[in-house]
Symmetry: none
Subunit: 202 residues, 4 copies
DNA sequence: CATGAATGAGCTTTCATTCAT
DNA sequence: AATGAATGAAAGCTCATTCAT
């Protein structure tokens, strides 16, 4: 990597960690500069404004969420397992995603935090990410419907809510509220898909 | 209400709405003053500092969450229905809570937003609120265990995660991500307790 | 004393003590109100403005410095002892003054502190007080000249400087810089007039 | 001098003059910025806080008072003249000091003003400066004792009081109270040491 | 007689940003 | 490729002061 590329990346990493910890508005460019060991001027050289620095983080992360390897992997998983039990598909999908989440926890925190108060990030997420998540979730839901008899009141929306509720909770609040959690991605995925398919009771 | 009490309350209301919309750090006392139609000096007269203004909101809301009527109602519901199906208990609890959430959506947003970045709020919530939520949820979980045969991997923690994942999602993200949702508290409660008990499939 | 008179006096006393400790600019009307156990409004009712409150203190103290009993006492002392050794006159004068200073240390501190930065107080002091002090000191100096042979370079100005240098130092800095000083007014007066007349050596 | 060094120095100079004139609490950073022809932000860039700006002035001046050239000069004077009349030593010391005082009148005013109300400055001055002044003054007093017969009541403390009383008076009040004083350092030193040794009378 | 309620103006301080070097 | 030097604008907060009650 070129030196300038390295510097750019360092700024990005530091910023992600700081925003994840303190929030965007409470993270000053001075602090970023100090921790990234560059001058404030350098930050503005590379990213024009604090806002564009955030934008870069948000967009980069969102792109990663569904890009290249990521997107392919997901559709591969769905296609490969078409014939199989949808519970297994869900479990496999979740496992792949949880691995991603683990690696990008701070970036995702930044996005979710900002989404709560930043209209642009809201729209961007809704259009670029949520729409895809809805699509995948709906696809899965259809497959399930084909194989199982569902309660009539349960629709795609409630399916999403259960699924993404747990995911968002895991990313945002679990570390804060729960002590001593040591579930690997596989275990997490198994338990969640289990609950979704059968509830907690037999 | 005395005039001063009115002013204090107005400041509080305006602040809650502003912080829910923009976040704490991005809400200036100047803006609060303008919208509450008082001078900045008045805000500081009543609340000493911006930080204490936030603290007041957080504590007041947390107290409401489990105080007096609230706490009694919850234990009443649990006691009254001891003999009944735990699914019904859960449903009744949820319905009561969703009514509360609807009335206090912005205050809750303030708390959850701050919890993501503010250590004090994190600890306060964990000790004062989350511990009680865990207790209730565990109590319920035990009742369920007594009446139904549960999968062995499912424990109180996964139960919480499902339940509160959906609740947090509803409060924080639903309005942003989902269009045209028109579920009343009763409907919400029914669907969620349904899913938790039976999953989405028969 | 009437109640209102009592309140007025309490405000004055508190203010003097506070200003002596912190300085005028660093003493807030809020603090005065708190310590005097009245509302800020009450202060402004009696003294119109913070500035006039200071003015009251300054003028009252200055008046005390040379008024009534005070002024009479001084000229009495001078007249009574005209025939005596000027050293004794000086000693007697000083003793009387040191007793006054002890009783009004804080008020005097307020005046001297303010004199360093406040043009009005400077002029007021110069015209109302210093001029009288110069007159007395000059009178004394003349008496001394009549009885003793003075070095030719020593004039009224140097006499003043020695005398009031020690006095000002005593009022302003002695407490701060010197530990364990336990000289009563009589002792102080004796030593100072001693030094002035004979220097420190025989 | 580098540009930044120049700016820093300018801020310092302006601040000293302003505080000497108005007092610390009545000097706003706004005013300093205007007179130093920089922005307020620049002041805080270099000095972190208004308090630290004052601290810089106080410490720098105190260091100057006894550092390098200064301290050496003083002990040189004392050593060189050991055999001579202590009156001459005192005179020489005073002359050297009065030259310093003339050059640093405003800085010294700042220190003395602050000393009246600021505990930290009080302690700092007492420990760093006054202790040394006492030492020098005591050393001199001993020399005098060896050569002259002193009145028994006169001790080091009264010696200090006379000496530093006049010095403090000169720095703080003379300009304010006395008109048309045109004594150079040499003259001042001569007169003061004269008075101290012989009083005003033969 | 006294104060509760309110504030405009000003304070110190921090922020994101610029630009010459 | 990077930064030292500087800043306008805005932040949180305090102050002396007013006035209706």
């Amino acid at each position: 990597m070129k030196k300038s590329e390295k510097t750019k990346q360092k700024i990005l990493t530091v910023t992600i960690n700081l925003i994840a910890k303190r929030g965007y508005a409470s993270t000053s460019t001075r602090e970023i500069a100090e921790q990234a060991d560059v001058s404030e001027a350098t930050i503005f050289k590379y990213y024009k404004s604090k806002d564009k620095l955030l934008k870069t983080i948000v967009i980069q992360t969102m792109e990663k969420l569904f890009k290249s390897s990521s997107e392919k992997k997901l559709s591969e998983i769905i296609n490969k397992n078409k014939s199989k039990n949808p519970e297994i598909i869900l479990k496999t999908l979740l496992e792949e995603r949880f691995n991603f989440f683990d690696e990008h926890k701070n970036e995702l925190k930044v996005i979710f935090q900002e989404m709560l108060i930043n209209k642009k990030v809201q729209n961007y997420f809704k259009e670029e990410i949520w729409s895809k998540m809805v699509k995948i979730s709906d696809g899965l839901f259809k497959q399930i419907k084909n194989k199982c008899t569902l309660k009539e009141e349960i629709d795609g929306y409630m399916f999403r809510k259960t699924l993404f509720g747990m995911i968002f909770f895991t990313i945002l609040f679990e570390n804060i509220l729960e002590d001593n959690i040591n579930l690997d991605s596989n275990k997490q995925a198994t338990l969640i898909s289990n609950i979704i398919f059968d509830g907690i009771s037999f």
